[in-house]
């Protein structure tokens, strides 16, 4: 009996394996080197000077699914040029696994951190390898606002000394408001240029009988994070970037009136039953992945959705960017002289297990060709100045890339920079409490209390 179960299971396994396709296809070079002269092929050619035959480089990051495919295509060029063997593995529990692996001593050569805060934690334990000053200088020269990208990757090591730990590859733009151009046309609305206009438009939509916003904070264990982006964006629009930096470092307390004010600004949008689809009570229970679908419902459930550049992945199938959906910059106050601040995020590539191959891989990651190869696919924004913007796969991505390059102020997602217990904990839950009706000052005090507890 037992035997027959096992054998039937094995037969089943073998029949299913017939479905599997060899992964060799992923290693083809999707853009033939030297052909399309918009690419910086010279930086590809210069890779060939490194001979890494037989060298194995293990790379561990957060990308899965189609993003993994895109990245595999990029890696293929590194392999073809240097002869190294790069193994990329992705995981959606990257944050937990990298901690286990580095502490236990079986770290991958290169790790791609979605949050610099996590890399800083590991660097403080001496588990990340600092990079050469040549790499640092390269980032300063090649990236838009290069010094700020260097600062974001500069952490204290185990001895408390500042060092430079990684290069940013693939940025996310957060200050975007998504909308349906057709719905705006039908109702005769114009794109707001200032925060004052945005607020007037919000009220006008309500008086016309519509619902202006779709806001959803649900995200499983991470529920609440979309609200932190709102608060950060509004912080940058009500206070100077210096105050923002002090807030991130907790040099000013979380319950400072300036921070509480930014939370209340978010409340102006999210805590008004008529402003939000489903009413304020549904904000924290709506999943952030389902929330934007309201833009495309019939009749439209809402007119606007503030979310980062990755969100089109969750638009209904067949939605064409630029036609069915578009975005505008989440505007700043005309009355406040703060320029056009941009909130963003990015993934940090660092060495967690030093080798010749991993050093070479870092050099590849900051070369223009590595950025261009993903730009020409989809879902990639780069702050690299030498990467050719003509290669963006869509007008939408090009426009986003432009916003990132031209930002008068660029600030990194605060919750990703704060200690994990705050930025990926108390801040999230605090915002859920706030949208459920708790007072902003009380919420801010609660978050500050958790911060004091870990100091």
């Amino acid at each position: 009996m037992n035997k027959s179960i096992l054998s039937s299971a094995i037969v089943f396994a073998i029949t299913t394996s017939a479905f599997s396709v060899s992964s060799a296809q992923a290693e083809d070079l999707i853009f033939p080197p030297g052909e399309d002269d918009r690419f910086s092929w010279s930086s590809y050619e210069s890779l060939k000077s490194m001979d890494l035959k037989g060298e194995k480089v293990s790379v561990f990051g957060p990308w899965l699914g189609s993003e993994k495919e895109h990245f595999d295509h990029v890696i293929a060029y590194f392999e073809a040029a240097t002869g190294a063997d790069v193994e990329y593995a992705g995981s959606d529990s990257f944050e937990q696994q990298i901690v286990i692996d580095t502490q236990a001593g079986s770290a991958p050569n290169v790790s791609i951190f979605p949050q610099p805060g996590l890399a800083a934690d590991l660097a403080a334990k001496g588990l990340v390898t600092p990079l050469d000053s040549a790499v640092k200088q390269g980032v300063v020269n090649d990236y838009a606002a290069g010094q700020s990208w260097v600062d974001l990757a500069t952490f204290k090591d185990a001895q408390g000394k500042d060092d430079f730990y990684g290069v940013f590859y693939r940025a996310d733009l957060k200050s975007l408001v998504w909308y349906s151009p057709d719905n705006f046309d039908d109702a005769g609305y114009d794109i707001p240029e200032t925060m004052e206009e945005l607020k007037t438009l919000t009220q006008q939509i309500v008086s016309d009988g519509g619902t202006p916003w779709c806001i959803g904070l649900g995200s499983g264990a991470a529920t609440g994070w979309p609200a932190t982006d709102w608060v950060e964006d509004l912080m940058l629009r009500t206070q100077s970037p210096e105050v923002y930096d002090q807030w991130v470092k907790n040099d000013i307390p979380f319950d400072d009136p300036r921070v509480v004010n930014a939370i209340d600004e978010f409340g102006w949008f999210a805590r008004n039953d008529t402003f939000v689809d489903g009413g304020a009570a549904s904000v924290s229970s709506t999943d952030f992945r389902d929330s934007p679908k309201g833009l495309f419902a019939s009749p439209a459930k809402c007119y606007m959705h503030r979310q980062a550049s990755f969100i089109p992945a969750f638009f209904p199938e067949g939605t064409e960017l630029g036609v069915d959906a578009d975005f505008f910059y989440f505007p700043s106050y005309e009355a406040k002289d703060l320029g056009n601040p941009v909130l963003g995020a990015g993934t940090l590539v660092s060495i967690t297990n030093d080798s010749k191959g991993s050093r070479a891989f870092i050099d590849f990651m900051r070369s223009p060709i590595a950025h261009e190869l993903w730009m020409a696919q989809t879902g990639f924004i780069s702050a690299h100045l030498k990467a050719n913007p003509d290669l963006y796969s869509s007008e939408v991505a090009k426009k986003q890339g432009g916003i990132l390059r031209d930002a008068t102020t660029f600030r990194f997602d605060a919750s990703d920079l704060m200690p994990g217990k705050i930025g990926a904990g108390a801040f999230w839950t605090g915002m859920v409490d706030y949208t459920s009706g708790k007072e902003s000052l009380e919420v801010a005090k609660g978050i500050q209390k958790s911060w004091d507890a870990i100091k």
């Binding site: 992964s23 899965l64 699914g65 189609s66 959606d92 286990i100 001593g105 109702a187 019939s298 199938e317």
Partner: protein, 380 residues
């Protein structure tokens, strides 16, 4: 007669309660199953219970403008069907603006702005006319339609057709089968010793095993992996591999296995074991010829437990086997299909039914042992 009429209300109550509980317990599975054969766009907008009957839905489509426009009586004409990919339904109302999506009744000719006209018939055919050429960006048609239930196997196709699934299936079996058999073997020996052999410190051993039951495995991941690294370095091999996973699963499964089996084996009739001893049987003979056959129910139920737990495990496999495509177990592969941000949950529903096949086979296979074992055990 009197007796049965007395008993029947209670029997009815019991039956009704059992039926009620069975229904309550099956509803989530039924819902999951229905979800798994639904269209993924519908899945995200409506609940599975709405999928069973014809439902009224409001939808949008964009007309496609051909390169060469059709002309009829001096008018430009566009035709097509709102149900693009032979989805069936009956259009009841339509409109051209998001503000009034159900302004007109189907079949009527609607006069729109700029001398455009639009008709949508009940079967979904539409016709749009204009005195001027259409702009390349088509207008949107809003329509309300009665959509009959529609089921598809696309979700299953997507999961089964994904790259590397077969390999992951084999990986999962490679991990699960030894990780089920090894702990049972070890635990059976240990349980016999702890139940029927006399040696100093026996009570302490049992207490230690019970104590180990409460150690959360998450706590031991880093130290365990670190010691694997240490041992791996000595022998010059990598720390991640099947042996490591088997040992880890064995370690995490043993306390419960020993505890369960010891309790069962200790409850076997003392007379049988003592008479075997009197007849000159050694401990090994007793274990092999008497205890093992009598403990089939316990062994089988633990085997089911352990198999399910290892088969469904993701954490230990990720930590001790790694994330590389060649080493991914089934749970890891399915999670990868969900995407970086975990949006495609239609995949979850279909994959739940695909992964459940093997544990079900194991369960039904071993259940026979369970029943037979119970019968043999009842001879006293």
């Amino acid at each position: 007669m009197v007796q049965s009429s007395k008993r029947s209300p209670l029997t009815w109550l019991v039956h009704a309660t059992v039926l009620f509980l069975v229904v309550i317990w099956t509803i989530p599975t039924a819902g999951l199953f229905i979800s798994s054969i639904r269209d993924k766009d519908q899945l995200s907008v409506s609940g599975w219970w709405t999928a069973l009957s014809t439902s009224e839905q409001r939808m949008v489509t964009r007309v496609t403008v051909p390169k060469k426009p059709l002309q009829e009586d001096g008018l430009y004409v566009l035709t097509g069907n709102v149900f693009e990919d032979n989805k069936q339904g009956i259009v009841t109302r339509f409109g051209d603006s998001s503000l009034r999506p159900s302004e007109f009744e189907s079949g009527k000719v609607a006069e729109l702005k700029r001398e455009l006209t639009l008709t949508v018939l009940a079967n979904g055919d539409y016709k749009m006319t204009s005195p001027k050429a259409f702009s390349s960006r088509g207008k949107r048609i809003f329509y309300t339609a009665e959509i009959p239930p529609r089921f598809t196997l696309d979700n299953y196709r997507e999961v089964l057709g994904s790259e590397g699934l077969g390999k992951s299936f084999l990986n999962s079996l490679t991990v699960t089968i030894p990780a089920t058999i090894i702990p049972i073997l070890v635990a059976a020996f240990a349980a016999y010793a702890l139940a029927w052999m006399q040696f100093p410190g026996k009570a302490l051993f049992i207490a230690a095993v019970v104590g180990l039951l409460v150690v959360p495995l998450q706590m031991s991941l880093i130290p365990l992996l670190r010691s694997y690294n240490f041992i791996g370095d000595i022998f010059g091999v990598g720390s991640k591999g099947y042996l490591g996973v088997w040992l880890a699963h064995m370690g995490f499964g043993l306390p419960l296995a020993i505890y369960l089996l010891r309790n069962y084996i200790a409850g076997l009739p003392r007379e049988i074991i003592e008479s075997a001893r009197v007849d000159g049987a050694t401990d090994f003979d007793i274990f092999r010829k008497i205890v093992l056959p009598l403990s089939f129910p316990a062994l089988a139920s633990f085997a089911i437990f352990q198999f399910l737990w290892v088969w469904n495990d993701l954490l230990i496999a990720m930590v001790f086997l790694g994330n590389n495509p060649d080493e991914l177990v089934l749970t890891g592969r399915l999670r990868e299909l969900l995407g970086s941000r975990g949006g495609n949950w239609e995949i979850l529903t279909a994959s739940a039914f695909i992964t459940i096949i093997v544990p079900l086979c194991v369960f039904f296979g071993l259940q026979r042992f369970l029943v037979r074992g119970l019968l043999t055990g009842s001879v006293k």
